[in-house]
Symmetry: none
Subunit: 154 residues, 2 copies
Amino acid sequence: MFLSSYENKLDKKRRVSVPASFRSHLSSLGYNGFVAYPSFNHEALEACSEDRIKKLSNTIDSLNPFEEKRDYFATSVLSESMSLQFDSEGRVLITDKLLNHAKIKNSILFVGLGKTFQIWEPKSFEKFKIVARKKAYQNRSNLKWDNKLTGEKI
Amino acid sequence: MFLSSYENKLDKKRRVSVPASFRSHLSSLGYNGFVAYPSFNHEALEACSEDRIKKLSNTIDSLNPFEEKRDYFATSVLSESMSLQFDSEGRVLITDKLLNHAKIKNSILFVGLGKTFQIWEPKSFEKFKIVARKKAYQNRSNLKWDNKLTGEKI
DNA sequence: TGGGTTTTTATGGGATGTTATGGGTTGTAT
DNA sequence: ATACAACCCATAACATCCCATAAAAACCCA
């Protein structure tokens, strides 16, 4: 799982260290890198393991080949995805295109979301976090949670 | 189960001993650590075993990957969760972020809540306890008690 | 039951390992 | 050649490991 948040720095060569815990999770899945693409909803990047993108590709592919939606998803996600591989120090090189989408300059925030993570400009994320916390609190009862097993809410 | 409360001290390196009884319960579940995240409601930390967070992650992941709600929950809980592992003496290292949320400086209180536990600044907890006790007393008839669900004698 | 002994727990701190980061050098396409 | 990616080495900050000790709890046996 990708948990917690880590703020690291971009160097002059556009490299950034991926948090060790994220690397070790990816490594446990058999990967030495991950896939990133611009978020639909945010000025941020979405990131996940390669098999998750494969799954998404299959889902898109199950749509009718002549259906417009198919192209829209494929174009918006797959055509913009970059596969990023770690160097020997656990860093990745991020393209300018991706950095621009997230308006990242120097600092870069890795945000763990369980099966995926996001990459943010730290100050942008701070703003979003406030909204998210409010909305999550309002909707906390909407998350279906099987009480029979645990007998407790989150 | 996590029962009772224990007050321990933070050392200079931000380490704190986890109560032995909590450790042995986690160990019986197959873990050598736990997950902590800031509470929604209190100036305190929520803590639980890893499988509980995994379950939450799976629940969140069952939502459509492009749905906004997904982000709200994941951001508010998962991105703030830290997986804390015991060192060889049964201590964990707590990040400043978590300590600040709970306003913890030197002393740290572990509060057993059955399947989960909380981490408090001792004096904050004293205040909360008074309120909690009052409210529990007012609502004492509202606790639904159904032997069929638990299947256990007490 | 009481008092002495052993074991466990909480805590401190030095030594070692890891991580994030910087930068030089080599390799490789255009 | 030029640009840039990949590889290699260096280092400071800090996490983890290991050993030490004091207090508390559990044990044991007269």
